[in-house]
Subunit: 240 residues, 2 copies
């Protein structure tokens, strides 16, 4: 995939380490004219811009502070503004890249920007470049399979513990995002199900200050940042 | 992550396109002394070696034909042989990389080799480098979210249709691997559940000869290769 004039690329830059960028992402960044870099309301600097720093030169950069509230209307309005910045640049024949943490199709803001852009430009001009997700980075660091043989893997937010309990009953691996604020209740649930020893907590994986916790008992009461992941292996569904 | 003498790296090379390799994978390959490249019994050439061709120079390469039968004992014996090839090279201070399609922690042979190596060398010498999975590549090409907001994503093999039906009932996105041999029965199931229009079939994504099928009705009776993926969106679990 090569950067084409007038095209837009939603590019996943991986979990945090600059060398977990794909070659495709690196080449698109180096060749493009303008970059949209999301910054959460809670952070001072754009984490994604730091990840891709070695591929930046004189590209125009829009740092866009997006709302972290779970508010569909505010979210939509915020990304419509970004699309209004991107669309005229595409019309002028510029190549625009949005960089996003992890993978653009997994709990990512790219979905909102793509939706807004589809209302403004031909969908033939829109592309998505996958990136390494935090789930994969955590599994690699713990060296724990996400799935093998006949296993089922479920990924979901930790926000609804009833859904988590359901997933635990029907998956060999469960990965939970958005654990912050739910950790102690989650530990209680895993303890009740006898699964605490098979759970692993990671925070800010591949971001230089990562933390890997193999015994969740030690994490009780911790105030986690929002980039926390818990991975639970309930068993194995091997070949018959 | 830098290639260290005496260390082993299970490296995911992504779904097929050489530019979906991560920078980390490329650098490890360029720096290492020996490479293990799995080749399935069913293919003539090693697909993974073709993906990384531009990073090869004079590294020693072990092309290892692994059994595709669902036979735990044969699988274990086969990977023990590879571990017996790797371990003495690590002891001599060489850096060894195993390349594997997709991600080493998602339905990958790396799990078997790592298990065999843990019996032979210190686990401090073993590393895993994540790679883009076929699921992510397919989602990027279809521009369909794998998960957004409160969505649940389940990944499982299509071999057990009862488990597939369960997953459909409790996930907003279901991704099925190993669809070959089960496609027509799967189409029947999706038709009965009114989900056929929300299903997407992909084959050999990012391998130069990829096929993307947005209407599964057209695929009935097709003899698929084993690198087929079906992605079904059952709905959306948005913010309250």
């Amino acid at each position: 995939m090569k950067a084409q004039p007038g095209h837009f690329y939603a590019v996943g830059v991986g979990p945090g380490a600059p060398d977990l960028l794909t070659l495709r992402a690196a080449r698109l960044l180096e060749a493009c004219d303008a970059i949209v870099a999301p910054r959460s309301e809670r952070s001072e600097a754009s984490l994604v811009l730091a990840i891709v720093a070695e591929h930046l030169r004189d590209q125009e950069v829009l740092e866009h502070t997006y709302p972290m509230a779970r508010d569909a209307e505010r979210t939509r309005a915020s990304w419509a503004e970004v699309a209004d910045w991107v669309a005229p640049r595409l019309a002028r024949g510029q190549c625009v890249v949005q960089i996003t943490l992890g993978d653009p199709m997994i709990y990512s803001t790219s979905s909102y920007l793509l939706e807004a852009l589809r209302e403004r430009v031909s969908s033939d001009l829109l592309h998505v470049v996958p990136g390494i997700s935090a789930m994969q980075a955590a599994a690699a660091l713990f060296q724990e399979d996400l799935a093998l043989q006949e296993d089922r893997l479920t990924l979901l937010p930790a926000t609804d513990l009833e859904a988590v309990a359901e997933a635990l009953a029907r998956s060999e691996t469960v990965v939970l995002y958005k654990v912050a604020g739910h950790l102690d209740a989650l530990i209680d649930l895993l303890e009740a199900k006898g699964l605490l020893d098979q759970a692993r907590l990671s925070f800010a994986v591949e971001q230089g200050r990562q933390q890997l916790v193999s015994d969740l008992r030690l994490a009780r009461g911790t105030r986690l940042g929002y980039m926390s992941t818990v991975m639970i292996r309930t068993g194995r569904r091997a070949w018959a």
